[in-house]
Symmetry: C2
Subunit: 293 residues, 2 copies
């Protein structure tokens, strides 16, 4: 009932080319395999720098079809290492439709799962709405050596996404992410932001009784310093392993899937959800209150 997961945290700076990043990644994946990893997870958009800091349509050239060169590289790696891989890619679906997409490969290198980021941010230096068409595949759980829920970065702020992925049967939810500090922020704001990010992931684990894995990049790119801190959280909300804020890391963690049922029996939250009164969750705002809406 235990699955060994490896989170690969690294820098993918502007200026490094894709081949170079993929070689770095492959070396880390081999290290993970040597440590017994069964599932290897990438950070968000791992194969390039975080290109969304400006709006530049030429950067859409970074997108690839799926399958495409990067996914084929990963499929070959999964087959070679006999591991499952979940990877975050910039997907070119057709001219003018690009997605922020996670795929999941089995040990044979076959793509057995795909999720397109549903919640798309747009903040100064994170102009993702410019690049990414919102996902249209809904919530996704893949039947790998664990039932793997696929969510991406901004989704992490939405309890709805974690809940829906749980209701589909997820045992481990993977959140590749690219989150960092802008150099103009105060130290206090920086601390608060990272802490809020950790808190949300822990809350997803607790509320749903699932394992959560968040994989973030490190390094400075332009105005942003990505804060790493990739982590794995148990179904009771304990951070069982955490990478540093600065260094690359192959974070290998055993996830005991039996803890899911044990935790949910102890705190049976899923039993008591008032589904008769949740209709309002599909509203933008409940401007005109209605009882039991």
């Amino acid at each position: 009932m235990t699955v060994r997961v490896a989170l690969l945290q690294h820098a993918s700076p502007a200026g490094s080319d894709r081949a170079q990043i993929l070689q770095t990644f492959a070396a880390m994946a081999r290290e993970a395999k040597s440590k017994g990893a069964q599932i290897i997870a990438t950070q968000e958009l791992f194969a390039s720098h975080y290109f969304c800091q400006i709006e530049d349509s030429a950067r859409m050239d970074l997108a690839e079809s799926i399958p495409g060169p990067t996914s084929t590289f990963l499929s070959n790696l999964a087959r070679e290492l006999d591991v499952e891989i979940t990877a975050s890619l910039f997907e070119r679906r057709t001219a003018g439709i690009y997605h922020n997409t996670s795929i999941y490969m089995n040990r044979g290198g076959e793509i057995i799962g795909k999720y397109r980021k549903m919640h798309i941010p747009d903040d100064p230096r994170f102009y993702e709405k410019f690049y990414f068409t919102p996902g249209d595949l809904g919530w996704q759980v893949v039947d790998g050596c664990a039932k793997a829920g696929l969510l991406i970065c901004w989704d992490q702020w939405y309890p709805e996404a974690a809940r829906l992925t749980t209701l589909l049967g997820a045992e481990i939810i993977f959140y590749p992410t690219a989150i960092g500090w802008w150099h103009g922020e105060t130290e206090s704001d920086k601390r608060q932001q990272r802490e809020a990010w950790i808190t949300m992931h822990r809350a997803h684990a607790i509320a749903n009784g699932v394992w959560v894995a968040a994989i973030n990049r490190v390094g400075t790119e332009g105005d942003l310093k990505f804060w790493g801190s990739s982590m794995v959280i148990s179904p009771s909300g304990e951070v069982v392993a955490e990478a540093s804020t600065d260094e690359p890391c192959v974070l290998v963690v055993d996830c005991n899937l039996a803890l899911i049922e044990e935790t949910r029996r102890g705190w049976p939250f899923l039993r008591d959800r008032r589904i008769d009164a949740f209709g309002g969750l599909a509203c933008r705002m409940l401007d005109a209150p209605v009882a039991n809406r």
Copy 2:
């Protein structure tokens, strides 16, 4: 834009009679008023011991109609002190229908809001499903000196409840609660439980950009030691004030409501919710996955 809130944490042990508890409460309320409180909040079922540790139908005698003696006492107190009060009561609605209910009184002592606990737990020593009929008033926000969301204890584990209350316009969500440790648990489990409880409240604040106030009791009652730790959390998820795990406390905190808009502009989570894909939240479980369900 700042509202001063007082959380009244105290013991309400078995053996103390209601008049005695109400006098203790009134003294604490006067202290809160002397410190400038505008809203006073009680812990869950503050007017009696936590009677749900066994299933005994005679204990339903503790329930009162609303309005009834306890609510009238509180209305008089609100009028006398010129404060708003939100209080958690054991409500007798009719023979055989009892609720775990929060009411909200304005400064004139008038009851201007009522919420009946929607999520009812049932665990060893917390046999609430025996006593409390699930609420049928839906989610409630009261137009007091702040827009006050009313949720109760077990609701705290449900992101859906916090979200719906936020969508109704809540600025501060009040969670009267009765949560504690069973003497048979390990120290490690106890730490983890309290931390999970704090984490969930912080996550509600972060995900929704609202103030959160949780009011818990202290003291040992039978097999349970209630862990106090009443707290107020800012819209960015910072615990701005916290009571001890052991002692009674009048926790007086200024809540700057302007932080709500500031926080939500910085992290505009409410803007991006994928309401087109949230239908599944009203399901118990998504046994048969359907895209975009």
